[in-house]
Symmetry: C2
Subunit: 155 residues, 2 copies
Amino acid sequence: MKLIVGSPGTWSGLALRVSQCVFALASICAMASGFGFTNYSAFFYMIVALMVQLMWSLALACVDIFSVRNTKDLHDWMLVTLIVVGDWITAVLVFTGASASASVTILFTRDTHICRVYTRLACGQFALSIVLAFIVWLLGAASCFSGFWLLVSFL
Amino acid sequence: MKLIVGSPGTWSGLALRVSQCVFALASICAMASGFGFTNYSAFFYMIVALMVQLMWSLALACVDIFSVRNTKDLHDWMLVTLIVVGDWITAVLVFTGASASASVTILFTRDTHICRVYTRLACGQFALSIVLAFIVWLLGAASCFSGFWLLVSFL
């Protein structure tokens, strides 16, 4: 089994998956606890994308735990391709959601100053949630990249 | 010289670059002719990203024309890597801009119905511009993918 940092079935891979779950959950909680997020499609879409990422990372964390406990080699060509494609799709979803939500938050805070006028709107929490979502995306991209590197090493 | 559709220095590559320029220009014109686009950061950011894409595609179209006319082989490892990285960066910029602008347009048309109330705002043109920007992104992604495929074939 090749030792590539962050690849499936390794301790570093498991740590990446767990971090993704933690940050995705924190981002969802920060957004969901903010008043008025359900009124805006971009925020709602980001929550859905983060939930997809959370479920995907949770499932792969379980696979990693199984692999690490039983010292089972997960570096099969087909399995790694499947994981890389899944990682890529979830990373794109989260990135799109975070970009969309960031633009709406910038519209509220800078372009129209709605946040200053309508203080009940939880703009601070929206911003925090978006920053956490971008961290989730970075961690997802790291997983995707290490899996991809493993695929290239099969060639 | 390997014949990969859309790779640098081929007729199909040149066609892809010219299409990127045409669609990017059309998108910029659609957005810039709409009333009120300068007030919103997301739209402004998309215009900047499209301009970067336009300049990049124009420069590479010139390189492709030179290569096709003089039947010069551009399939050098370093050059293709540079082009793929540049394509990837511009594609990500355009994708982020298009996602951000799409979310703001959805906010205007569906979430708050500002377009219906404030009819002077050119929501139709914004939507057209965003669709064109997504086409630019797809064409950019196609260029990036074919260049990447060429890189893999060097391995």
